[in-house]
């Protein structure tokens, strides 16, 4: 530094002589800051609750939620539109309409989509926005944190999908062959609820894992959940056991059982491919296993990786 700079110029200040200490403006601390006044530590469950609550609040505040809900509730319009447009020309079976919507849209498209949309960013967001340091310096159990986040995701995603699915069901009753009061139909509805929740669990957990493990969970998620799952069902052999779709398909009550042989159209021609079926019980076990393994891997990733190291965005 410039040798001629005086101490005053260096930013030092004169102090009041009467001040007891070396001169900083004296400051009295409140009682709660004194030693041994730490608030009670509530442990695992409190952290889980906090994590879930915070994730819920963040999710609910986003405009993204509205976008997701908008997309998820679009199918409700289809049976209604159908009943107006085509009732004169041909009678639709409400049962068929609902089952097609539930299977083709809710289970196969919306669950992976919601998983990527919400769960993919659950952990990734904190890493990307670099708020992870705050969380990792709390005495919070990492597993409680991950479980809390996951719980929040499950609540939001399954609420959206189940509400939308129920509304679609109600709208489908405008057509013949489906009734809000018949037990078999309601059982069917509840069956789909179950499948949706199970699929969300597996897809969600997998997406959370991608988020904790990679920098671009969404791109990889799209490649795996849409690209790979599609390719694996085309390729003959057993590779489709490495998809989640296989097990969710096995849980579908009506269509899945009719699909043990599929015709595949490719550039090289059309050929048939035998599909090895999985029993519903095994499928449930498999889905739960995928969930558990993915969440476990996420927790291990959070425990072991050093998220504070990242500097630049988009690297």
């Amino acid at each position: 530094m410039n040798a001629n700079e005086t101490m005053l110029e260096k930013g030092m200040r004169t102090v009041d002589l009467d001040s007891p200490q070396d001169g900083n403006r004296h400051m009295t601390l409140p009682d709660w800051l004194l030693q041994g006044r730490q608030p009670a530590y509530r442990g695992y469950f409190a952290v889980l609750q906090a994590s879930c609550g915070h994730a819920l609040q963040t999710l609910l505040r986003r405009r993204r939620l509205a976008l997701a809900a908008l997309v998820a509730f679009l199918p409700v319009l289809i049976p209604i539109a159908l009943s107006f447009l085509s009732s004169s020309r041909f009678a639709e079976s409400g049962n068929v309409v609902f089952v097609r919507l539930a299977e083709d849209l809710y289970v196969n498209v919306f669950t992976p989509l919601m998983a990527l949309f919400f769960a993919g960013m659950l952990v990734a967001e904190d890493i990307e926005m670099r708020t992870m340091t705050y969380i990792l310096t709390r005495p919070a159990s990492r597993s409680a944190w991950v479980f809390g986040r996951f719980l929040a995701f499950m609540t939001v995603a399954s609420l959206i999908l189940i509400c939308s699915c129920a509304l679609t069901f109600a709208a489908s009753t405008l057509h013949a062959d489906l009734s809000l009061t018949r037990t078999t139909d309601l059982t069917l509805l509840i069956h789909y609820f179950g499948v949706i929740v199970l699929a969300l669990l597996a897809y969600g957990a997998f997406s959370v894992f991608l988020g904790a493990f990679t920098k671009r969970p969404i791109v990889y998620g799209v490649i795996l959940l849409y690209g790979w799952q599609y390719v694996a069902t085309l390729v003959p052999g057993l590779v489709d056991f490495f998809t989640i779709k296989k097990y969710t398909d096995a849980l579908l009550p009506l269509m899945a059982t009719q699909r043990n042989v599929t015709e595949i159209h490719t550039a090289l021609g059309t050929f048939t491919r035998e599909v090895f079926l999985v029993s519903a019980g095994k499928a449930v076990v498999a889905l739960l296993l995928i969930t558990a393994v993915s969440l476990g891997a996420t927790i291990i990733a959070v425990l072991r990786r050093e998220y504070a190291a990242d500097r630049a965005a988009g690297g």
């Binding site: 601390l29 409140p30 030693q35 994590s51 963040t58 986003r62 310096t137 005495p139 050093e306």
Partner: protein, 305 residues
Amino acid sequence: MTAIIEAQGVSKWFGEVVAVNNLNLSIESRITGLLGPNGAGKSTLIKLALGLYAPSRGEIRVFGSRPRNNNAVMRRIGYCPETDYFFENTTGYEFVYWLNRYWGMSRRDARRAAEAACELTRMTERMHDPITAYSKGMRQRIKIAQALASSPELLFLDEPMNGLDPRGRDEMYALIQALADAGMAVVVSSHILYEIERITDNIVLMYRGTLLAQGQLHDIRGLIDRHPHAIRVESRQSCAISKDFLDLPDVTRLEFEENALVIRTREPNACYALLNDMARKNEGLIEGITCSDDNLQSVFDYLTR
């Protein structure tokens, strides 16, 4: 005093870049200034102590146990990071509140602690505004608030003075001093010397990932007392003054500047004695005496050279 943080042979590298190299260190329970230029490894050391990083080699212990993923240690620690990142779309109050909840407080405790912490950092008025509307000083204060809300025993402040205006810095000094008086151990990292000088003389000097020196500032100064001092005497008659110094045995060099004389000596005491003598005898002969080698800057310069 007992050591709160103990590092034994700690190294940390990222890929091929060494951030901290073979660090042996123990920090006691009072204000410790962590000093070093940018890239010296101060932040890395703090993050190692917080368990955010696992040491590549060696061991670091905080309150006697390893900090990484150790909730018992985390419960006693507060941390105010250097970077300005917050949860999206939150107000200052909510930010502190949720971090309190993550800490493991009940709703009521978290609310109370958040309010109290905001009051302490004088954020009560603006605490319900979104963080994006805060100025740099307010963001700094809200970060301090979240670190203090759980009344930790050990507080890490990573570059807390960075970007603060003089008033903000004054408040920060006062707060740190008060916290230390209340018995909290505070580790403050900074690269600006007079900032640290102002709060503590208990310093840890780091440079390029290695520990240069640790201890009381004057101890360190004593350590380098054998190092030649350069005393700058401002006088309009520097030639006249210089004659007397030619006879002093330990003067190694005399340099003339415009209206000033720089004396390099291995024996500062004798030089000062002579200067004081002269000044007493001749009013107005000596207009200024400065020694650029007896502040923290020079300690630092000397050790890093």
